[in-house]
């Protein structure tokens, strides 16, 4: 079950409006210490014909909602949308977004998805959930009743509560305005295509996409603006930016008496800039206003996706944990038939399947499996702690499990979540081992396994594996040659001696198109020493 497509942004209509209501919601939806008591046991379980009906979905939803409320799951209002397989493919190829600007790469994704689907190479996701307020979950019409119940529990309660409560989503995304912004982006790009030609816009978008991974503020929090302000500020911004840029490239002779030598040795920007698209948007001298705005759009959307790339294990694990817990509870209380149970359990088992390393089907750690196992493990540590757990997790061992679990969901991202909660018990269960791969050596070395010496190393290694900073190359804007050819220098800091892939030249060409002048990339070792120029591309043809 590939449930990983869920665009972004948490709700907030205006700067102020959300605060009081948010506080109120928090109070009302406070997490109980233990599940609240069940209501009356139903006389008979919900019917389970394989074909769903709207009435059935409503009944299942009501039962799931009641159960979720007993566990204190705090969610946005739900909006379930029934869609067909074609629509699901449409949604797939636009990254799950309900709207988006036009670009050939989405067409490529669509064609690839369509072909694989038609040839039976892949099943479609059962659902897609969008981080918006209300939270939109897509249910596929092909799903059976049992699968719809699974999807509702998974997406409409699992993912939904994660979107609403995880700190990264709260900090970086704005569910209330994402749809508006995407509509604005689509219309703006369409206007540009009309005015400046489809090809020009397409090339420009290509270049922006190539650098979109470097269009993210990793630490600064973006300012929140609603659509109206966004639009109103655009024109101001265009005018002002142009002015700024001109200032930067001033060609007036310097007044005598100023210390020119000191100026020349000074780098611009003074501090390296990690957000390349931001830097280009603000400083590229030759860019047209519409081009700046497109850079900004791509940058914003990349930023919106940033939190979900950092919480895959947590998010999927959370949703999986809750569909498992909710549906099992409902079964125990007589809501579900055996047939429904068997059907969703079969899917569930497939989803959390983790083939061992070396297996033909192995392709890394399955985030569903790891996330699910970790939340289950936290629950276990709270409920039945062993001596070992008490040593490793004195904070939560033996405490009420619901608050502990919610705390874990709200305040971490994958990297820190693994670093905090991966228990020795789980490492043994999953039989984790770490491999040290140094290309200078002819053999790989097993650096740690699931034993006493290995636990901490394993945990740290796995945690780093989820660190986006380490997974993606570290490339920053280093310098601009202000007095000469205006060439831009990017600096790649090698992480553990790992080189860049073969796309470098191509990406640099895109960077040169954005910058308008030559671009070179130099590489330094982890200590920031011994720069070597890797590639350099000439200015783009005018």
């Amino acid at each position: 079950m590939n449930l990983s497509q869920y665009p972004v942004l948490a709700p907030r209509a205006g700067g102020q409006a959300w605060r009081p209501s948010w506080a109120a919601e928090r109070q009302q939806g406070a997490v109980p210490l233990a599940p609240r008591p069940a209501g009356q046991r139903p006389a008979q379980p919900l019917p389970d014909p394989s074909d769903w009906t709207f009435e059935l979905i409503e009944r299942y939803h009501a039962a799931i909602a009641a159960t979720a409320a007993r566990f204190g799951l705090d969610t946005y209002p739900n909006q379930l949308e029934v869609i067909s397989a074609e629509q699901m493919m449409d949604a797939y190829s636009s990254g799950g977004m309900p709207v988006g600007y036009r670009h050939w790469s989405y067409g490529k994704d669509f064609l690839a998805t369509e072909r694989r689907y038609r040839r039976g190479h892949m099943g479609l996701a059962y659902e897609i959930v969008i981080n918006s307020n209300p939270c939109i979950s897509y249910l596929m019409e092909e799903n059976s009743t049992a699968m719809q119940a699974l999807v509702i529990a998974h997406a409409a309660y699992g993912h939904n509560s994660f979107f609403k409560n995880n700190y990264l989503f709260g900090m970086w995304t704005d569910a209330g305005s994402i749809i508006d912004y995407l509509v604005y982006a689509r219309d703006f790009v369409a206007q540009c295509e009309e005015r400046h030609g489809v090809e020009n816009v397409e090339q420009w978008l290509d270049s922006c996409h190539a650098l979109s991974n470097l269009g993210v503020d990793r630490y600064r929090r973006p300012s929140k603006k609603n659509l109206a302000r966004e639009r109103a500020e655009r024109e101001q911004r265009e005018a002002y930016a142009q002015q700024q840029v001109n200032e930067l490239w001033r060609t007036l002779p310097t007044r005598p008496g100023k210390d020119n030598a000191a100026q020349e040795s000074e780098r611009f920007p003074r501090e390296p800039e990690e957000n390349l698209l931001y830097f280009v948007e603000k400083n590229a001298p030759l860019m047209e206003p519409w081009q700046r705005e497109i850079v900004r759009i791509v940058r914003k959307i990349a930023q919106y996706f940033y939190p979900q790339r950092q919480t895959q294990v947590m998010n999927e694990g959370w949703a999986t944990f809750w569909h498992y817990t909710l549906l099992n509870t409902m079964y125990d209380e007589g809501w579900l038939t055996d047939g429904v149970m068997i059907e969703w359990l079969s899917s569930h088992t497939n989803v959390i399947h983790q083939p061992p390393a070396g297996h033909r089907a192995y392709s890394g750690i399955n985030p569903y499996a790891l996330g699910f196992a970790m939340y289950r493990d936290i629950q276990r540590i709270c409920q039945e702690p062993t001596e070992e757990d008490r040593r490793w997790f004195p904070d939560i061992a033996g405490t009420p499990w619901l608050p502990a679990l919610h705390h874990a969901m709200q305040n971490f991202k994958d990297e820190s979540f693994v670093g905090q909660y991966l228990s020795p018990q789980l490492m043994r269960d999953m039989r984790l081992f770490a491999i040290h791969d140094d290309t200078r050596q002819s053999e790989l070395v097993v650096s740690a396994i699931h034993n006493d010496e290995g636990y901490r190393t394993l945990r740290q290694t796995l945690s780093q594996q989820y660190d986006l900073g380490a997974r993606e190359p570290n490339i920053q804007v280093w310098n601009v040659n202000l007095r000469g050819d205006r060439g831009l220098t990017l600096r790649h800091t090698r992480h553990q001696g790992r080189p860049l892939n073969d796309d470098v030249q191509e990406v640099l060409r895109h960077a040169a198109r954005l910058w308008g002048f030559g671009v070179q990339l130099e590489s330094v070792n982890a200590d920031g020493e011994a720069p070597v120029v890797l590639h350099s591309v000439p200015p783009p043809p005018p």
């Binding site: 489809v198 192995y362 290309t439 790989l444 070395v445 740690a448």
Partner: protein, 424 residues
């Protein structure tokens, strides 16, 4: 908990169409080449089908900065069955266990597979015909000699006498007369009764009698003034002129089935016909096809017989042309039909007949048809080819080409029917 369930199934699928179009446009060149290859290979009867298009994946990659292979990496894997710390393992090929981890390789699709997708039947044909258009069709559209058809459009107050709607007119007149005379008639009747009563009483000299008679006379005059038929009663059948673009085309397939036309030559001819047919289907709603085959005598036959029966003997091309003209005159008047003729032959004709053919074409047939295409399925120049070549400069809608192998057909086709003004 508030819940909305929305059924989106009927609203907008194909949201990706715009993106898909952009993709196809971007890679048009590669796709068009693939289409041409497919046309070359494809069995012509199944020409209108979807096609799988393959583009080298490296051409459509979107580049990104990523880690390459090499350097130092530490990764964690599940399912340890035999290792302890410090074990050394041979580096697996393909980098699944080492390097950046297996998942990275599969995510980014580093495999050098080709990117394959399916072009729908419509897209395929669209590309296939991309810059083809019917010869002079454009001109027809712009100069628009649209044909008009008269259609009934109710009744009107004016028109020509032969369109007079008699029943309507008389019905209207009757109604008008009744409406205008009913009240006076009623009054008249009452007065008449009074008069009769008075006459029965006295001798007819009293004042009231005279007054009554006066009023009766006035009423009668008034009634008499109501015309039996008034201009405002007239109704005419009205007809509106509705422009009716001619959407009918007839395509004549002429083929030589003499002994010298072997099966492979027939195949060539057949492809030519079918391509023309497919092309016409895109421009006309209704297309008739007439198959005329000939050796020394011509006959109109069904499609199956046309392509598959074997004949022997000499060749008289003119026989087919005569029959063609007869059929046009009898069944497909040039004013109503767009006439296309495709002729295929090996050009092997009785020498005496060649000039005859040329005259027939020039004088009788070419003025009637919209386009006449001739392909010769052998390379050497025969008598017929020479005669036809003389015609080409005089008639813009007459074209002739030589085709030797199946692969030639598509270019020939493009050449024959290329868009006016589009360089090939």
């Amino acid at each position: 908990m508030a819940l909305h369930i929305i059924d989106r199934r009927l609203s907008g699928k194909n949201k990706s169409v715009g993106n898909r179009e952009r993709f196809v446009r971007r890679y048009k060149q590669q796709i068009a080449q693939a289409v041409q290859r497919a046309v070359g290979k494809r069995d012509i009867r199944h020409i209108e089908q979807a096609e799988t298009i393959t583009i080298p994946r490296k051409d459509i990659r979107e580049p990104l900065f990523r880690h390459g292979q090499g350097g130092v990496s530490d990764t964690v894997h599940p399912g340890n069955s035999e290792h302890v710390r410090g074990d050394r393992i041979a580096r697996p090929q393909g980098g699944a266990g080492g390097g950046g981890g297996g998942s990275q390789a599969s995510d980014s699709g580093e495999g050098e597979d080709d990117f394959t997708f399916t072009l729908s039947k419509e897209e395929f044909m669209e590309l296939f015909f991309e810059d083809l258009a019917l010869p002079r069709l454009l001109r027809t559209h712009i100069a628009s000699t649209p044909q008009y058809r008269l259609r009934r459009a109710g009744y009107s107050h004016d028109g020509t006498p032969q369109n007079l709607a008699l029943l309507r007119t008389m019905g209207g007149a009757l109604g008008r007369r009744i409406a205008l005379t009913k009240a006076p008639q009623r009054e008249l009747k009452a007065l008449q009764a009074q008069l009769d009563a008075l006459l029965a009483q006295d001798d007819g000299t009293s004042e009231s009698l005279a007054e009554l008679q006066q009023r009766i006379a006035a009423l009668q005059a008034r009634i008499a003034k109501v015309a039996f038929l008034d201009p405002i009663d007239l109704r005419f059948r009205s007809r509106a002129r509705v422009p009716e673009p001619s959407t009918r085309a007839v395509m004549f397939c002429l083929m030589d089935v003499s002994g010298s036309m072997d099966q492979s030559r027939k195949e060539l001819a057949k492809r030519f016909f079918i391509l023309l047919y497919l092309f016409l289907t895109r421009h006309y709603e209704k297309i008739d096809i007439v198959f005329i085959r000939h050796h020394t005598q011509a006959a109109e036959v069904g499609e199956d017989e046309f392509f598959h029966s074997q004949e022997t003997g000499g060749t008289m091309v003119s026989s087919a042309l005569v029959l063609l003209e007869q059929i046009i005159r009898a069944r497909y008047p040039a004013g109503d039909w767009n006439i296309y003729v495709a002729q295929a032959s090996d050009g092997d004709n009785f020498t005496d007949d060649n000039a005859n053919c040329r005259n027939l074409l020039a004088e009788k047939i070419l003025p009637l048809v919209r386009h006449y295409a001739y392909v010769q399925v052998v390379q050497e120049e025969q008598g017929l080819w020479r005669e036809y070549t003389q015609l080409a400069p005089q008639f813009a809608h007459f074209a002739l080409r030589k085709v030797a192998v199946a692969g030639d057909i598509y270019p020939v086709f493009r050449d024959l029917f290329r868009k006016e003004g589009v360089a090939v």
